[in-house]
């Protein structure tokens, strides 16, 4: 039996960490609802409540939050769709087929889980500059797919290895080709694993600041986190309610994606599916 005291202690600890987790969200939200020209301090409980700072952040012509959200959305969508598709193919091969060199190739992919963008960005920038691809979507899309397929392949391989072998074999007995087995038998049951992968890649792609500030200088093509960096860099940086409002606008899409997917699949799918 677990004592009552222990239970109270558990809840107290959980509650303390809930406060720690939520306080920054609450404080940032509070300050953002102040009027854009108000002097804010302390908890900055708005009086009156106002959407003015959100409008000021949204309408700032140089930062272009709206445009940057659009750019990031295009980037994340293309990268996630392409990477998930390629990862399913590669994971299917590694997870269900025997072929020469498969071990070596798989370990070769594993290196990519550890490589930081810092290790690749310098030559990537100069190469893309030489190809006149800097300041295009391509300069973000291509490296992001390259960085995503290593993790995606690892992830999907784990999934395919845990997939019941007898289902694959019986599909084969029924005369299905290996590609038919993949798309008609396996993928329809893989919703949770595929969406968890998509969520993780979406978050990583959306949040990648280093690549965005190195590759994109044209304000028209600026990505959302880079637009925030631009905000902070100007004297706007000390107007806390407008910068916080801008940050909230950038955070909302990712939080919506995360919330929807975790409602559907449970939060631990993200972490739990990592179990190979």
């Amino acid at each position: 039996m677990v004592s009552r005291r222990e239970q109270v202690l558990s809840y107290s600890i959980l509650l303390a960490f809930t406060v720690f987790s939520l306080f920054p969200f609450i404080s940032t939200t509070l300050v953002a609802f102040n009027q854009p020209n108000a002097t804010v301090s302390g908890l900055a409980i708005p009086s009156p409540w106002s959407l003015g700072s959100f409008f000021a952040a949204w309408n700032d012509p140089d930062a272009g939050i709206g445009r940057s959200l659009f750019n990031s959305m295009i980037l994340a969508t293309v990268v996630v769709v392409a990477s998930v598709f390629l990862s399913i193919l590669a994971g299917y091969a590694f997870g269900t087929m025997k072929f020469r060199g498969s071990r070596f190739l798989f370990y070769f992919f594993l290196i990519g889980l550890v490589v930081p963008y810092e290790a690749t960005i310098i030559p990537l920038y100069f190469e893309f500059r030489g190809l006149k691809l800097v300041d295009t979507y391509w300069s973000m899309i291509l490296p992001d797919i390259g960085g995503s397929v290593a993790f995606g392949t690892f992830w999907m391989t784990s999934f395919f290895r845990s997939f019941p072998r007898e289902l694959i074999d019986s599909a084969k007995t029924d005369g299905a080709t290996r590609m038919q087995t993949l798309w008609r038998v396996i993928v329809p049951t893989a919703g949770a694993a595929i969406f968890a992968l998509a969520t993780i890649l979406f978050i990583w792609t959306w949040n990648n600041l280093l690549l965005a500030i190195v590759m994109i200088a044209n304000p028209q093509l600026q990505m959302a986190p880079a637009a925030l960096n631009y905000f902070v860099g100007r004297q706007f940086g000390i107007n806390y309610q407008v910068t916080c409002a801008a940050a909230i606008l950038v955070a909302i899409p990712v939080m919506v994606v995360y919330y929807v997917l975790q409602r559907r699949y449970g939060a631990d799918v993200l972490a739990g599916s990592l179990k190979g």
């Binding site: 959980l14 498969s102 490589v115 810092e118 600041l209």
Partner: protein
């Protein structure tokens, strides 16, 4: 990864044996050749090779040249490395990384382990709510996190508001502008970002620990502490490995947070290797020096990850 052949699902072993009996082969379609696995891997491999592997090799190459990014590069051999190592700021940047590792890798894992130890003994209602809340910070862009905490830490901000309320106005300070406080302050932001991620990971692992192991430990008279070290900790080895690996890389790469809160300051108090590399290459036009730092950072990350995987690997 756990070895897939080691799974002990009832029935699966039998089906394995059945699978060994040659079955009538399905129709062989065109493209259904023994090259199929290679064709499936090829597209991923192409992206991976072009945009990850070749650039790494190129970074090692660039580290051997003096180059401003415009004129012809000059071969200098290992000079960049000796220059970088002789620079006390580089050593400082790697020390900053060590502090970040303590805060955003070690500390969250310790906190999460304690929480998991407490939670696994009790039936917690609303656990999915707690998981959602704790994981939320990890989903935010660090650029967003940076802006939120700039406000929290500001002299007029909410944390100083609370400190001033409790301890009086004399106790407030601009945390991010303070030589001593700036780094620990950013470290706490790191804890905030990663601990929920680690907790969710460890909790999902703890759910897979067989209940009878706990029952047995209790029959043997183990208290909460012994139970934790005898059952929970060994059962979480795989999750610990993943959590430590991912947060270690995250800590060592720290870039967005100092860039957008402190610009690496005051002085060099919060300058990380990534930030140094970025400045050298894209601001100061010292590509070779930056590449040398990138190489050193990559080596440190690989060594760190190898150490974690050795310590928590399969026997």
């Amino acid at each position: 990864m756990t070895a897939p052949d080691a799974v002990s699902v009832p029935g699966l072993r039998i089906s394995r044996r059945l699978a060994a009996i040659p079955l009538p082969r399905g129709r062989s379609q065109p493209g259904e050749s023994r090259f199929l696995p290679y064709l499936l891997i090829l597209p991923s491999f192409a992206f991976y090779a072009l945009f990850v592997i070749i650039p790494i090799v190129a970074t090692f190459g660039l580290a051997l040249f003096q180059w401003d990014g415009l004129t012809a590069p000059i071969w200098v051999g290992l000079d960049n490395f000796s220059q970088v190592i002789a620079d006390p700021n580089t050593l400082g940047a790697f020390q900053v990384s060590v502090v970040f590792t303590l805060f955003t890798c070690i500390l969250p894992v310790v906190i999460a382990l304690i929480l998991v130890g407490a939670i696994t003994r009790t039936r917690i209602r609303g656990l999915s709510f707690f998981r959602l809340v704790f994981f939320l910070p990890y989903t935010l862009a660090l650029a967003v996190v940076a802006i939120a905490w700039r406000w929290l830490y500001a002299l007029d901000g909410s944390i100083n508001g609370i400190i001033g309320f409790i301890f009086g106005a004399g106790a407030t300070r601009p945390f991010l502008g303070d030589f001593f406080w700036a780094l620990p302050a950013l470290g706490i932001v790191g804890v905030w970002v990663t601990f929920g991620f680690v907790l969710v990971l460890l909790l999902s692992g703890a759910q897979h620990i067989p209940k009878d192991l706990y029952d047995q430990a209790r029959v043997d008279g183990a208290g909460p502490i012994r139970e934790f070290f005898a059952v929970t900790l060994p059962g979480l080895r795989y999750e610990l490995r993943v959590a430590l690996t991912m947060t270690l890389i995250f800590s060592l790469r720290m870039f967005d947070l100092p860039l957008m809160t402190t610009q690496g300051g005051p002085g060099y108090a919060t300058t990380t290797p990534s930030l140094m590399m970025y400045r050298d290459v894209f601001v100061n036009g010292q590509v070779g020096i930056g590449a040398a730092i990138a190489v050193m950072l990559t080596v440190v990350i690989f060594v760190g990850v190898a150490a974690v995987n050795r310590a928590f690997g399969q026997e």
